[in-house]
């Protein structure tokens, strides 16, 4: 293993080596050497210190622009504060609602400051009132002190980043990562058992930087390897998917990761006439993760883009999660992905039918080909356990558990949740899978998560977002996803009505709200009688029970709008 470095140390070394980032935008590109990036991060750090922030203060970063965000993230470490990456407003969105969600995170994490864009400042005036600990709302554009050395030097065990994965009002989940976590994961990804990065490798990415794959996988890995990173805004890719492939062509990209849906979007939206001029022959690691991988999409992508040099051995399917920095397993390079359709066995000697993960997993596995996601990273362990945390043998489905230096420090200010998630040093992912000759196959996802277009949505966030709409009975909303192989989840909202709002208006209101806040289409709204959406004695929505009834068809067609 290479010596682990903090982010500022890695940046300083990259600055000496001379490479940098290309930031692409509609119609132009900007090159920033890592020396430039380090200079901007140092100036930001100095300005933060001068604004009165103290060591250990939590600072929310709500920034769209990649350069502004990355220099702020790196500078925060140099200032000794704790940066928390938070979602900027969606391209299509209701700013008021966005500010509500953001305020929820800032308040519950007792953030001392938030750094955002000048244009968004007016929206934060209202936030201050709701967040007693929030003493500073700062514009990134104003935080630029004269040239400076880093005000402080973090150690490997200082916090590098808090990544908020859920914007739920009362209980946001902020994944706390130390510099040691970051370095351990990134060096494993970059190293010989992972990507095997070498001189000449170029990363190209359109992924959002508030997501682990975009930030750690595509924006930070090049810094730790002193290689070129090319970053474009997500909207540029989504608007014209061919722009991703053009950037890979133009910059001779060798490494590019994206969720499954991006490959699917290219298949559907890259036109034949766009193929001219593309050259994907240098793309040696076409990474895929973050959502279930559907083998037929890979085959179709490889067939379509073979004419412009794409090789099917470039697919690089991985498994990981933010609680483990990014990657948990990586496949062997330059090899066709392993596909497994064989039946999965229950543990031998198991007589209990109701062992929680097994029946569900077996159903999910049946008939669906699974893609091998590789082996544990060097210096890390992966195992499959039953519900009593007992390790299971090969080819038995259970919960995926991970151990090693990439396991997060915990959830920010959530000691109970942290203790439930990390037990005896093992991170319990909530995802289901099995091992076969050391290779991991993921067969089911964390309970309750809705995955659409590579983005994970937490049902409680959707429930909260629609909870105060006129016509919705307070606390009687259940949201969930119905998974379909190779397709985005179908999003379903089950709601008990209150008052006299017309059903049509209620459905439209729910769709509008979820569209505004999450950019997500609600496929079905089921309006159900009072008492249908049950609650536990502790007041939690009985989501699984409601989903089970929906799947069984208990909610009559007349009440389902779709």
């Amino acid at each position: 293993m290479p010596t682990l470095r903090t982010l500022p140390e890695a940046l300083a070394e990259a600055a000496r080596a001379g490479d940098g980032y290309y930031f692409l935008a509609d119609g132009h590109e900007t090159f920033r050497s890592y020396a430039d990036v380090r200079g901007a991060a140092c100036r930001f750090a100095r300005a933060l210190v001068e604004s009165g922030l103290r060591r250990g203060d939590l600072v929310g970063l709500v920034l769209n622009d990649a350069e502004a965000f990355l220099t702020a993230l790196m500078g925060a470490s140099m200032a000794g504060v704790v940066p928390a990456s938070m979602h900027p407003p969606a391209a299509v969105g209701d700013l008021t609602r966005f500010v509500d969600l953001t305020a929820g995170i800032l308040r519950s994490s007792a953030a001392r400051a938030v750094v955002t864009e000048r244009a968004l400042l007016p929206h934060f005036d209202a936030v201050r009132a709701a967040c007693p600990a929030l003493s500073l709302v700062l514009a990134r554009e104003d935080l630029d002190a004269p040239a400076s050395d880093p005000p402080s030097h973090p150690s490997l065990d200082d916090i590098a980043l808090v990544q908020f994965t859920s914007g739920s009002t009362s209980a946001p989940k902020g994944v706390v990562l130390t510099h040691r976590n970051l370095a351990a994961n990134i060096e494993a990804i970059n190293g010989p058992a992972g990507l095997g990065l070498a001189q000449g490798d170029v990363g190209v990415s359109w992924l959002p930087l508030n997501h682990d794959m975009g930030l750690v996988g595509m924006a930070l890995t090049p810094v730790y390897a002193s290689l070129t990173g090319v970053l474009m805004p997500p909207a540029m890719f989504v608007k014209r998917p061919v722009e991703w492939l053009r950037a890979i062509t133009r910059f001779r990209g060798t490494i590019s990761f994206a969720p499954h849906f991006a490959y699917d979007l290219c298949l559907r939206r890259v036109k034949d006439r766009d193929l001219e001029g593309l050259d994907l022959s240098r793309w040696r690691a076409a990474g895929c993760g973050a959502e279930p991988i559907y083998p037929p999409t890979f085959a179709a992508f490889a067939a379509r883009f073979a004419a412009v040099g794409f090789r099917d051995t470039s697919f690089f399917p991985c498994y990981g999660l933010a609680e483990h920095v990014l990657a948990a397993t990586l496949p062997v390079r330059d090899r066709l992905p392993r596909i497994d359709t064989a039946a999965v066995l229950a543990p031998s000697g198991s007589s209990t039918e109701d062992r929680a993960p097994l029946p569900r997993a077996a159903r999910e596995v049946a008939g669906i080909p699974l893609v091998g996601c590789g082996r544990a990273l060097p210096g890390h362990e992966v195992r499959i356990v039953d519900e009593a945390d007992r390790p299971l043998p090969d080819r038995c489905v259970g919960e995926i558990a991970l151990k090693g230096p990439s396991v997060m420090m915990g959830y920010y200010n959530r000691d109970t949740l942290t203790a439930e998630t990390i037990r005896d040093g093992w991170l319990h992912t909530g995802d289901l899978g099995y091992l076969s000759d050391g290779e991991l196959f993921v067969s089911g996802r964390a309970k309750d998560v809705i995955i659409v277009n590579g983005r994970k949505h937490h049902p409680q966030d959707l429930e909260w977002a629609v909870g105060d709409l006129a016509g919705v009975r307070r606390g009687r909303v259940a949201a969930f996803g119905i998974d379909e192989p190779g397709r985005p989840d179908r999003v379903v909202v089950v709601v008990e009505p209150s008052g006299t709002v017309r059903a049509d208006d209620l459905v439209a209101g729910i769709r509008r709200r979820v569209g505004d806040v999450f950019g997500l289409y609600v496929d079905e709204v089921a309006i159900v009688p009072s008492g249908t959406v049950g609650r536990t004695t502790s007041g939690k929505v009985q989501r699984s029970a409601t989903k089970a009834r929906y799947v069984q068809g208990d909610f009559s067609a007349a009440t389902v709008e779709g």
Partner: protein, 91 residues
């Protein structure tokens, strides 16, 4: 010129919306893309790209959040088509 051009632009916008949507839709001027027509954020951007191709215009991404209804899109395309057809950078 701008008045007579409005009708083909509206028909073109409706055509684009129909092509991009996953389901049969019948767009009317007052319809909201998200709430009424069921577009998600990905599809809104796909609509933008298709409109650019069809009308040979460039729609800044900054303009997207304020464009919500079919009528607003028609007005924006009409404005951009008029502006950009007179600008020297577009042929």
């Amino acid at each position: 010129m701008s008045q007579p051009a409005a009708v083909p632009i509206e028909a073109g916008v409706v055509d684009v919306l129909r092509n991009v949507s996953r389901r049969p839709i019948d767009p009317a001027p007052e319809h909201d893309l998200v709430a009424d027509l069921g577009f998600d954020s990905l599809q809104v951007l796909e609509v933008i790209a298709e409109l650019e191709d069809r009308f040979d215009i460039s729609i800044p991404l900054n303009d997207v959040p304020s464009t919500r209804t079919v009528a607003q899109i028609v007005a924006q395309v009409t404005r951009l088509a008029a502006e950009q057809s007179t600008s020297p950078s577009k042929s």
